[in-house]
Symmetry: C2
Subunit: 287 residues, 2 copies
C-alpha cells in the first residue's frame, strides 16, 4: 500500500528553471517528487530528479506514470512554447479514446485550455496545486522586493498603475499598465507586457512622451478570471531590462499573485539599474 | 450699437475643413461669421469667408479682432499641429503682459491647455461654444451612420468595445478599444487610436491574433474629463482605412459626442470596404 507520505508530488514541467525550483522546495519540505517533462519543452536538467517524459500524443503514458507512482497532487508549471496539434501527433490508444474531450479543451483560447486541463486532471482524481503553494518564494510578500524603494511620486504612479491594471483585468483585457507622472500611458491587451513596454520606449524615443530621468512604473497583477494554480502573471530579468529601457523607475506587482522568474537575477538587474520592485497587497493599499 | 443679431460668431480655426463647415452651418442659420485662422494651421480657403489671421505671439491682435467685430460667441475648432513655443515667438505688447497667464496654461498636458484656453477666453467675457452645437451634422445621431449595419456578433463586439473604451476613459487613459469575437485585444493610451489599430493589424499579420473574414469593432468615445466644446474624439476617412487594414468589421461611436471628419468621404469608404459605423447613445444601450 502506498501511504500519503510516499506519494510523490508530480510536477508536469514546461520550460525554464521553475519546475526544478518547485521540486527543490518540495524535497526540502521532505516530500518526494516526480518531474514529468513535456517533450520539447522541459529543461534536460530535470534528469537530476526522479523524472519521466511525456509527449502530447501520449496521454496514456502520462496517466500510467502518475498511477504507477501513486501520485495524487499535480503541479503544472513552466513555459509551453508550442501548442499541441492533435491532428498531426502520433496518438496512443488512450489518447485516441479521450481525443474528443481533449479537442474540446484545445479549441478555445489560452485560459480555457488551462481551465479544461485542470478539469481533465481533477476528474481523474488528482488535485491540481499551484507552484507557489509548494515554493512560496516564487511570489513576493507585500513590500519592497529590491533594496530600492519607490520615492513618493513613484509610489503614487505605482498605485495608479496598479489600479489601472486591475481595471483592465476586470475587462479580461490584460494584466499590466504603465503610469508616468500621474498619466496612464499604456494599457496591455493582446500584445503582452513586453510589447507594451517597448511601445512606451518608442513613444518616449519619438518625443510623444516626455519625462526626465527615471519616472513612473509598470504594474502587473492577475485578471480576476485567472486560475493562479496554473496561470500566473510573471516578471523576470527580461521584464526588468524592458522596464529600464522604457525609462521607468520601477515595477509594482501584487503580493502572492505574481511569479518572479529567477528572483535573484531579477533583483540583481533591478538594483543595478536603480529600479524598484514593490509588491502591494491584493486589496486595499493600492486604492 | 451692435445688436445680438449682428454679432458674428467667431471661429478660431486650426487646420482642415471643419472650421468652414461650422461657418457654413452658421451662415445657413442666418448668422454672421468671422473665421480667425491660426497662422500656419488654418486652410487658406477661409479667405472665402469674412476672416482674419492670428499669430500665436499676437494675442493683442486676436483680442482686437474679436472686439472690433463685437463678437461674443467663440468656437475653437480644427487641428493644431504645432504647439506654440512662447519663448521663441515675436510677442506683441498685449501678449507680453498676459504671458504669465499664457505660460501657466501651456506648461501642462493637452487637456489642461484647452481648459486653460477656455478659462482665458471666458474670463474676457466671451462664451466658448462647441462646433457641434453650431453644426450638429459633425456628430452622429444614435443608430447606423452607414448603410451597413452590424450583424449580431459584431454588435456584441461593438458593445463590449464601447464598455471597454468607457472604462479606460474613467482612468483618463484613452478613448478607444478594439474587441474581436468577445475578446478585448487592444486598449488605447498615449499611442493614440491609429497606432493602436496598426498594432492590431500587426498582431494579426504575425499570427498572434486570428479570425477569419472581417470581425470585431473599434469603439471610440470621449473621456469623462473632456470638454467637448473644444476637444472631441474624432473619426474620419483615415480611421476607416486603418480599421479596414486591421481586419475589423466596423466602428462604434457615441452619438452626439464623437466628431466625424469629412462625413461623406468617411461613409463612402466605410461602405466601399463593407464596414459599419454605428452610434450608441451616451448611456444605457451599450451596457
Amino acid at each position: 500500500v502506498v501511504t500519503a507520505v510516499d506519494r510523490p508530488l508530480a510536477i508536469i514541467a514546461g520550460g525554464g528553471s521553475i519546475p526544478r525550483r518547485v521540486a527543490d522546495a518540495a524535497l526540502l519540505d521532505g516530500r518526494k517528487v516526480l518531474i514529468i517533462g513535456i517533450d520539447g519543452e522541459a529543461d534536460s536538467r530535470i534528469a537530476d530528479y526522479p523524472h519521466g517524459w511525456f509527449k502530447w500524443g501520449n496521454i496514456g503514458h502520462l496517466e500510467n506514470l502518475l498511477a504507477e507512482h501513486g501520485t495524487r497532487d499535480v503541479v503544472l508549471v513552466g513555459g509551453v512554447k508550442t501548442r499541441p496539434d492533435f491532428r498531426r501527433l502520433k496518438l496512443d490508444f488512450r489518447t485516441i479514446r479521450i481525443l474528443p474531450e481533449i479537442l474540446s479543451i484545445v479549441v478555445d483560447g489560452d485560459n480555457t485550455v488551462l481551465t479544461g486541463a485542470i478539469r481533465f486532471i481533477e476528474k481523474r482524481g488528482y488535485s491540481v496545486i499551484g507552484a507557489h503553494e509548494i515554493a512560496p518564494d516564487l511570489v513576493a510578500e507585500a513590500g519592497a522586493v529590491t533594496r530600492n524603494v519607490p520615492r513618493s511620486a513613484q509610489l503614487d504612479d505605482a498605485k495608479t498603475a496598479m489600479n489601472a491594471a486591475r481595471s483592465i483585468g476586470l475587462l479580461d483585457a490584460g494584466q499590466a499598465s504603465v503610469v508616468v507622472n500621474g498619466r496612464v500611458v499604456a494599457l496591455e491587451a493582446a500584445e503582452g507586457t513586453d510589447a507594451m513596454l517597448r511601445r512606451v520606449a518608442e513613444l518616449r524615443d519619438g518625443g510623444r512622451l516626455k519625462w526626465s530621468g527615471r519616472a513612473g512604473a509598470l504594474a502587473k497583477c492577475p485578471k480576476p478570471q485567472q486560475d493562479l494554480r496554473v496561470d500566473m502573471p510573471t516578471i523576470g530579468p527580461q521584464t526588468v531590462d524592458t522596464v529600464a529601457a522604457a525609462g521607468l523607475a520601477g515595477i509594482a506587482i501584487e503580493s502572492g499573485r505574481v511569479m518572479i522568474v529567477d528572483r535573484e537575477e531579477t533583483k540583481r538587474r533591478a538594483e543595478a539599474a536603480g529600479l524598484f520592485i514593490f509588491a502591494f497587497p491584493e486589496t486595499g493599499e493600492a486604492t
